[in-house]
């Protein structure tokens, strides 16, 4: 269970996050939606202990990320694509990530096969396409067989086959009792897979609820999204 409560983040005089709060529950896929610059990544960066909040909490089963021992075994995450140095191969990247959390070496080959990068495991990350980088980022998230997945814009750059694959992966993870939180600025891409929606605009949560709850009164999710975020087409 992910609990985000009254999160405030200021950058200079600008308030990036204004009392952001929501939960992501086990067994469900929670989609965190909003236009670019709405505060999705800022929220996830604080959740993963990368940035500091000015106020509020972001917790995994009641604990901040920084206090988790071998965090990758509890939370798998992806931010900013692959998160790998360009001159390293996918295999070497995952090998150091595995070592850092005492994850057995065999998991490297397993996750590479799972995300479809087995054939490109010895290629330098600099030669990867956006979609391949995303797959490598997801591979790193799966490495520690975590119960919780936090993915920032995972469908970004994936081809239609890749999008279908990631939807399946996230659905299966939640169906197996896992917690999935993913962010996206593409509502239609996540509508089919999400159980719960959290919509953010200008650093404020504008609505939360199941897909049916959020879209009621609107023609479809797209209509709801534009109406709620105040984006004019």
């Amino acid at each position: 269970m992910i609990t985000i409560d009254q999160l405030v983040k200021r950058r200079g005089s600008r308030t990036v996050l204004d009392n952001v709060g929501f939960t992501a529950r086990p067994g469900r896929v929670t989609a965190f939606l909003g236009p670019n610059g709405a505060g999705k990544s800022s929220t996830l960066r604080i959740l993963l202990g990368l940035d500091r909040a000015d106020d509020g909490h972001a917790l995994f089963d009641g604990r901040p990320y920084r206090t988790l021992p071998d965090p990758l075994r509890t939370v798998g995450s992806m931010l900013e694509g692959s998160g790998a140095h360009r001159s390293r191969t996918a295999r070497n990247h995952l090998a150091w990530v595995a070592r850092s959390n005492g994850i057995p070496r065999r998991r490297v080959a397993e996750v590479l096969a799972e995300v479809g990068l087995a054939a490109d495991a010895r290629v330098r990350v600099a030669k990867y396409s956006l979609g391949m980088g995303q797959r490598l980022g997801i591979a790193a998230a799966l490495l520690g067989e975590p119960q919780i997945l936090v993915l920032d814009e995972p469908v970004n750059g994936l081809d239609p086959e890749g999008i279908r694959w990631i939807r399946r992966l996230l659905r299966d993870h939640a169906d197996a009792g896992g917690t999935v939180l993913l962010s996206s600025h593409l509502m239609t891409e996540v509508a089919d897979v999400a159980d719960d929606l959290v919509v953010i605009a200008n650093g404020r949560i504008v609505t939360t609820g199941t897909v049916t709850e959020v879209t009621s009164g609107y023609a479809d999710l797209e209509e709801a999204f534009f109406a709620l975020t105040g984006v004019t087409r």
Binding site: G49, G83, G102, A126, G157
Partner: protein, 235 residues
């Protein structure tokens, strides 16, 4: 321990680290061969050359964390992964610094016996050993200085230019001594006599032990500053 294992593996799979390692080993050996062909050599006279490679190792081990992937590939940086695997920033810096020390000591173990072997100087073994240990300390401290500056700047270009220029082509510190004797207290000049009597150096300035302490003081101070800055800012 896992974090250290990860850092060692990370460094050993980074081509730029090997470039620094090769620069030290090949640089020292090649210079020693060149000097030996010109006349009397001491075996340790080529060792100041190794400072360049040591500085490169110190800088790239950390600047690589901030190298961005191309925008086409998401523009991500490795620091995000590093801090999600090891959320304690203190632990990240300590294991990184320890990795740099291990690699530089390793480069000294490879380069120094060969350089001394080429020269076969007529110098007592204990004096030779002291010079080699002093030179290793100078390299390690230079690497840590480069590391600390890189952490603060989040970029390796400026410390690389600064340290490579200063330790190979033109010593800015040495030029500054013409203006003020305070320049002898700058890290690179303060530690100069750590290389021992086999390396000719400036006539004035600090002796080996106080000089080494001053240089170590600089390294500690800058590493503390790096820790302070790194802990306080967002990744």
């Amino acid at each position: 321990m896992n974090a250290l294992k990860a850092e060692l593996y990370k460094a050993s799979t980074l081509p730029a680290v090997w470039a620094g390692f090769a620069l030290t080993v090949v640089g020292c050996i090649a210079l020693e061969v060149l000097l030996a062909s010109q006349g009397d050599v001491t075996g340790t006279d080529s060792l100041p050359m190794g400072t360049v490679g040591a500085a490169v190792i110190g800088v790239v081990a950390f600047s690589s964390e901030y190298t961005a992937n191309s925008a086409d590939a998401g523009g991500g940086r490795q620091i995000t992964t590093t801090l999600t695997t090891t959320p304690s920033k203190t632990r990240v810096l300590l294991t990184k610094a320890l990795t740099i020390v291990i690699l530089i000591v390793l480069s000294a173990v490879v380069a120094m016996p060969v350089a001394v072997g080429i020269a076969r100087p007529d110098v007592p073994a204990d004096e030779l050993l002291t010079s080699c240990l002093g030179a290793t300390l100078y390299w390690v401290l230079s690497g840590l200085l480069g590391f600390a500056i890189t952490v603060v700047l989040r970029n390796g270009v400026i410390p690389l230019i600064l340290l490579i220029l200063n330790s190979s082509l033109v010593s800015v510190s040495l030029l500054l001594t013409k203006l003020t004797s305070l320049a002898y207290w700058l890290p690179d000049l303060a530690g100069r006599r750590l290389f021992g009597s086999g390396v000719r150096t400036v006539d004035s300035g600090l002796d080996a032990v106080p000089g080494g302490l001053v240089m170590a003081g600089w390294a500690v101070l800058l590493c503390l500053l790096a820790g302070f800055v790194f802990a306080r800012r967002d990744a």
